[in-house]
C-alpha cells in the first residue's frame, strides 16, 4: 500500500497499489488477448494472406455490388433502429426518472426483465408473433381486417422491429441515469422563471440528458451494426446484414478468408462511424 494517493481519494483504486490493480486486471486481459484478439487477428490476417499476400477477397467486396448493398442496408438498419429506440426509449426513461418507490421498481422491472431474458427467446417470440399463422396474422384474420395472411416475418420491417425491441434497454438505461442526475429544482427554476412544462423540458431537461442519449445511441448503433441472432432468425436469408452474411460465409460456405475481409470491413465501418459520431457530438461534451 505504499502507493496510496491523497487521503481524499476513497475509491478502491486509490487504496490498491498500482501493481496490485494490474494483477487483478490480468486474468481478463489474458482472456481477452487469447480468446478475442488472437482469433480476430488471425481472421483478419487470413483475408490478405491466403496463404500468399492477396487483395482478392477485399477486391471481391468492392467488385460485386451485392456486398456493398448489404453493407449500406446494415448501416441503414442500424440507424433506423437507433432512432426508433431513442423515440421509444426516451419517454420510458423520463417516466422512470420521475417515479418514486413502488412504481419506479415496477417500471424498472419492465425494462430490465427483457434485458435479462435471452436474446434468442425474445427473437423466437417475434417469430411466434409474426409468422404466417402467427398471433398477429390470426388476429387480423379473425377481425376480418385482412383476407390473406400478411407476409410479416422475414421482412426488413420485422428485423427493425425485433432489433429495436431487443436493444431498447441499452438506450433507456443510459438516458435514465443521466435524467436521474439532473437536480429536480432545475425544472422548478425554469417553471418559476416563466417556462411552461414543455418549454422547460426542451430548454433544460433535454439538453442536460444529451450525454445519456449519446451513450445510448452509440451503444445501440454499434450493437445493431454487428447484430447476428435477431436478423438471422427474424430476417431470414433474404434480409442479410453484414453479420448474418459473415455467419453464412463461415458456417455454410466455409469461406474463411472472405469472411475475414467482411469482418474487417465491419470493424472499419464501425470504428469509422463511431469516430464520426463522437466528432459530430463532441460539442455536447463542452457543457
Amino acid at each position: 500500500m505504499a502507493d496510496t494517493t491523497a487521503a481524499g481519494d476513497r475509491s478502491l483504486a486509490g487504496q490498491l497499489s498500482r501493481r496490485a490493480s494490474l494483477a487483478l486486471a490480468l486474468p481478463l486481459v489474458l482472456l481477452l488477448g487469447l480468446a478475442f484478439l488472437v482469433p480476430v487477428a488471425k481472421l483478419l490476417a487470413g483475408s490478405v494472406f491466403a496463404p500468399h499476400p492477396t487483395a482478392e477477397h477485399w477486391w471481391r467486396i468492392v467488385q460485386e455490388p451485392i456486398f456493398l448493398r448489404i453493407l449500406m442496408r446494415t448501416v441503414q438498419t442500424a440507424a433506423i433502429v437507433t432512432v426508433l429506440a431513442f423515440l421509444l426509449g426516451y419517454p420510458v426513461a423520463l417516466v422512470m426518472s420521475r417515479q418514486g418507490g413502488r412504481s419506479a421498481v415496477l417500471v424498472a422491472a419492465c425494462v430490465l426483465i427483457p434485458l435479462w431474458t435471452s436474446v434468442l427467446v425474445r427473437s423466437y417470440a417475434w417469430i411466434v408473433l409474426l409468422q404466417r399463422t402467427g398471433v398477429v396474422n390470426s388476429m387480423l384474420l379473425k377481425w376480418g381486417l385482412i383476407d390473406q395472411p400478411l407476409r410479416l416475418i422475414y421482412t426488413e420491417g420485422a428485423v427493425i422491429v425485433a432489433m429495436t425491441h431487443v436493444l431498447l434497454p441499452y438506450m433507456i438505461l443510459p438516458i435514465f441515469s443521466s435524467l436521474r442526475s439532473i437536480p429536480p429544482e432545475l425544472d422548478r427554476a425554469a417553471r418559476n422563471l416563466g417556462a411552461g412544462a414543455w418549454t422547460s423540458f426542451i430548454a433544460v431537461t433535454l439538453p442536460l440528458s444529451l450525454p445519456g442519449v449519446y451513450a445510448g445511441a452509440i451503444m445501440v448503433f454499434i450493437l445493431s451494426l454487428g447484430f447476428y441472432v435477431t436478423p438471422a432468425l427474424v430476417g431470414g436469408p433474404q434480409n442479410l446484414t453484414l453479420a448474418t452474411l459473415i455467419g453464412q460465409q463461415t458456417t455454410d460456405l466455409l469461406n474463411w478468408p472472405f469472411s475475414g475481409a467482411l469482418a474487417g470491413l465491419l470493424l472499419v465501418v464501425t470504428l469509422g462511424l463511431v469516430a464520426v459520431f463522437r466528432r459530430v457530438l463532441s460539442f455536447g461534451k463542452s457543457m
Binding site: P183, E185, L186, R188, A189, A190, R191, N192, L193, G194, A195, G196, T199, S200, A203, V204, P207, L208, M287
Partner: protein, 373 residues
C-alpha cells in the same frame, strides 16, 4: 455601463401577499394546517421553523409547485391559488442555486426575459444591469461551474430579479454557504431589498439569520404559525413556550401562583417571589392561586445577588468566560438547569463549581406560560 443613457428602469414595487386558511395534506399527514398570513407590500418576512414545520411546503404553494388542499393565496389583487408556476411572475431563489449548468451566466439571467418574449437587443442591457446589481459585472460569459458557491447564488438572485417580480421567494438561499460568506450575502440581500422595495419571503431554519434580516418573522411548527411578529417582539414577548425556546437561549423554571389582582400576578419561583403583569402571560394559562406555571427567563434577565432571602438558591455547575460576558451554568433545587449571563469581570466572583450561589430574576423580563400537562 452608462446608466444615464438608458431609459430609467422603473423600480419593481413590492406587492402584498394574502394567505387565507391555507392547508396542505399529504395523505394522512398535514404539512400546513390552516395558515392565515398577511404579508405587507415591500416587507421582508421570514418563515422560521425546524425542518418539517411546514415552512417549505408553504413556500412551494406560494411558488405554485404545490396546490393547497384548501384556502387561497393572492398576490396584490390576483388570486394565484390555481395559477401554474410559470404564470405567477414571482421570483424564486433556491437553496442549491438551481442555475442551468449548460447555459452561461448571461444566458441564465436572460432566460426569464426570453420566456417573456423580450428580444436579445432589449434583454442585453437588462442582463448587464442585473449583473451589476449583484456586483458580478463581466461574469456574463462564464459558465456556472466556473463560479464559487457565493457567486452562483448571486447569479441566481440576479436571475430571479431581472424580470422585476413584485415578490421574491428565497428557500434557505444561504444554507449551502460557509458562515463568513453567509453573513456577507445576508447584508447584500438586505441592501437589495431596501433598494428595490420588493416583498421578500425568506425561508430559513437559522434563527440568527431571521432575526438580523427580517421586518417580521413567522415562526412555524407542526404546520402552523406559532407566532408572527417583529424580531424584538418574538425575542421579548414570546406567546408560547415553543417560540420562547426556539428563539435565542431561554431558561424554564417551575413556578406557583401565590396571589393575583386585576393587574398583577404574584408567583413563587424556586424561592423568589416575583410580581408580573398579566400581559406577561403567553397564551392563556389558567390563573388561580396554587396553580403551577412555567416561567421563562432569558440568560441576561437573571442576576447574581448576595442576599439569600427572596432569591433562587442554585448549585454552580460551571462558569464559562466568553470575553464580553460570562455564562454561569447552575441548577436549582427543583433540578432545572439555568444559564445566566453575567457581566465580564476580572475576578471570578467566587463562582466555584459545586459551590452555592443566589440568583434573582428580573420580574419585568419574565414570560409566564401554562405548566406542561
Amino acid at each position: 455601463m452608462n446608466r444615464a443613457a438608458g431609459p430609467a428602469q422603473a423600480l419593481p414595487k413590492g406587492e402584498g401577499i394574502t394567505i387565507a386558511g391555507v392547508s396542505k395534506r399529504f395523505g394522512a399527514i398535514v404539512g400546513v394546517d390552516h395558515v392565515d398570513l398577511d404579508v405587507r407590500a415591500g416587507e421582508f418576512l421570514s418563515l422560521l421553523g425546524p425542518s418539517g414545520s411546514g415552512k417549505t411546503t408553504l413556500l412551494m404553494m406560494l411558488a405554485g409547485f404545490e396546490t393547497p388542499s384548501s384556502g387561497t393565496i393572492a398576490v396584490g389583487s390576483r388570486d394565484l391559488t390555481h395559477v401554474p408556476p410559470n404564470k405567477r411572475g414571482i421570483g424564486m431563489v433556491f437553496q442549491r442555486y438551481a442555475l442551468f449548468p449548460h447555459m452561461s451566466v448571461a444566458q441564465n439571467i436572460a432566460f426569464p426575459l426570453k420566456m417573456r418574449g423580450i428580444g436579445k437587443a432589449e434583454a442585453e442591457p437588462l442582463v448587464e444591469q442585473a449583473l451589476a446589481r449583484v456586483r458580478l459585472e463581466g461574469y456574463g460569459g462564464r459558465m456556472p461551474a466556473q463560479l464559487s458557491g457565493g457567486q452562483q447564488q448571486r447569479v441566481a438572485v440576479a436571475r430571479a430579479l431581472v424580470f422585476q417580480p413584485p415578490v421574491l421567494l428565497m428557500d434557505e438561499p444561504l444554507g449551502a454557504l460557509d458562515k463568513k460568506l453567509r453573513e456577507e450575502l445576508q447584508i447584500e440581500i438586505k441592501t437589495l431589498h431596501e433598494s428595490l422595495g420588493i416583498t421578500i419571503i425568506y425561508v430559513t431554519h437559522d434563527q440568527e439569520e431571521a432575526l438580523t434580516m427580517s421586518d417580521r418573522i413567522a415562526i412555524m411548527d407542526k404546520g402552523r404559525i406559532q407566532q408572527l411578529g417583529s424580531p424584538v417582539a418574538l425575542y421579548h414577548e414570546p406567546e408560547n413556550d415553543f417560540v420562547a425556546d426556539f428563539i435565542g437561549k431561554m431558561n424554564f423554571l417551575p413556578g406557583t401562583i401565590t396571589g393575583q389582582d386585576g393587574e398583577r400576578i404574584a408567583i413563587d419561583v424556586s424561592g423568589q417571589r416575583v410580581s408580573v403583569e398579566r400581559s406577561q402571560c403567553g397564551g392563556r394559562p389558567h390563573l388561580a392561586i396554587g396553580q403551577a406555571v412555567r416561567i421563562a427567563a432569558r440568560p441576561e434577565g437573571i442576576a447574581l445577588t448576595d442576599e439569600s432571602g427572596d432569591a433562587i438558591r442554585v448549585a454552580v455547575e460551571t462558569s464559562i468566560f466568553l470575553g464580553s460576558h460570562r455564562t454561569l451554568v447552575a441548577r436549582t433545587a427543583d433540578g432545572a438547569q439555568l444559564q445566566v449571563q453575567l457581566p465580564s469581570a476580572k475576578q471570578d466572583a467566587g463562582l466555584e463549581p459545586r459551590g452555592t450561589a443566589f440568583l434573582r430574576l428580573d420580574p419585568g423580563a419574565l414570560r409566564v406560560f401554562a405548566a406542561e400537562a
